[in-house]
């Protein structure tokens, strides 16, 4: 009979433990941040030597894709006025892959491309000669909003990443997620980029109009 009594309640009441754990959890939720080290990468040009004159740029007009943004956030893309950046990624892509006047080296490059990219070559004599020559230039004003500048840069990057990704048969998201940690991924990355440099020139903002 006394034996039965000791068996009655053997478990410890752990109901309040959940409350304590909840308190801890909420404390962590409030005091911590989820690390977000994501963004658009960019490499600035090196500082110019004041003793030397700036290097002469002798590029043909047709090899430069010009994007100007004024202080009212209006765009001038290849001398065309527009209000927003819709469709810019597609235009940049067409510009880079135009192959208007390729030399022998770039004819080889063209022949090595997958058919998806070959189909995009418009061979427009007014547009870029070949991807090695093509430069996308973004020029802003001091009063341009950072938001719009990043949106335009984002679209230009998107165009390049799509080209790279299509070249190795991935989607742009998959290509961007590649890291140089494993040899196989690095090889894939290099194969996408090979001979198509991401040439984005960012001019210093214009004075005035702040």
């Amino acid at each position: 009979m006394p034996r039965k009594k000791s068996r009655m309640s053997q478990e410890v009441n752990a109901g309040s433990m959940a409350d304590i754990a909840f308190l801890l959890l909420i404390f962590f939720l409030v005091t911590t941040t989820i690390a977000s080290d994501k963004g658009i990468t960019n490499v600035l040009p090196p500082k110019l030597d004041p003793n030397q004159p700036p290097p002469e740029v002798d590029k043909n007009e047709r090899n430069i894709f010009k994007i100007l943004i004024n202080s009212n956030d209006q765009l001038l893309v290849e001398d065309d006025f527009r209000d927003n950046s819709d469709g810019l990624d597609q235009e940049v892509k067409e510009f880079v892959m135009n192959f208007g006047e390729p030399d022998q080296e770039n004819i080889d490059l063209f022949n090595s491309l997958p058919p998806v990219l070959k189909g995009q070559a418009n061979r427009d004599p007014e547009s870029s000669d070949h991807p090695n020559e093509a430069v996308v230039s973004i020029k802003t004003n001091r009063g341009t909003s950072y938001d719009l500048y990043l949106e335009v840069l984002d679209k230009v990057k998107k165009a390049y990443y799509e080209i790279y990704a299509e070249r190795v048969g991935l989607t742009a998201d998959e290509y961007r997620a590649l890291s140089s940690r494993t040899a196989a991924e690095k090889e894939l990355m290099d194969r996408g980029k090979e001979n198509i440099p991401m040439a984005i020139s960012i001019a210093e903002p214009d004075k005035g109009g702040e």
Partner: protein, 153 residues
């Protein structure tokens, strides 16, 4: 009838002893995936949206610059300011700051420093351009425009 009655009398409370375990699991998940807030933000931060985001591989190489309107306009005014570490600095201090950040890294990694520009979306390009030219001066040319993800149309 009697049989049924007997059944309902036994064990009325639900065992809750597994609940703390579940909560602890959640807690550990949060402890592992998040970082403690290292510094107090003195400027407003609403990061712009972008779709072509990349993640940097080595966290130790990143230094942060926060740019935005001061949260306390009565002391610091309403013009966008730059925050490095815990203090507001001016554009002229950037070269010094970069050199301090570089000193924290090992010899071999010094030229690989990444500067993460955490700029508010309302900032204009003027201050950003000034910062960029100072960073060129300090030879910290790799920058990251910190932004949050956007769903592609």
């Amino acid at each position: 009838m009697a049989k049924f009655k007997k059944k309902t009398k036994t064990e009325e409370n639900i065992p809750t002893s597994a609940l703390p375990d579940i909560i602890f699991m959640l807690l550990f998940f949060f402890m592992v995936t998040t970082v403690l807030r290292e510094q107090e933000l003195l400027v407003e931060q609403k990061l712009p949206q972008a779709s072509q985001l990349q993640k940097l591989e080595k966290k130790s190489l990143i230094s942060y610059l926060f740019i935005g309107k001061p949260k306390n306009p009565s002391v610091y005014g309403t013009e966008p300011r730059i925050q490095a570490n815990d203090a507001l600095i001016t554009t002229n201090d950037i070269v010094l700051w970069v050199n301090q950040e570089k000193d924290k890294l090992s010899e071999a990694e010094r030229d690989q420093i990444y500067v993460s520009l955490k700029a508010d979306r309302d900032v204009k390009m003027g201050p950003i351009g000034d910062i960029q030219s100072e960073l060129r001066e300090a030879d910290a040319r790799k920058i990251l425009y910190a932004s949050v993800g956007k769903v592609d149309q």
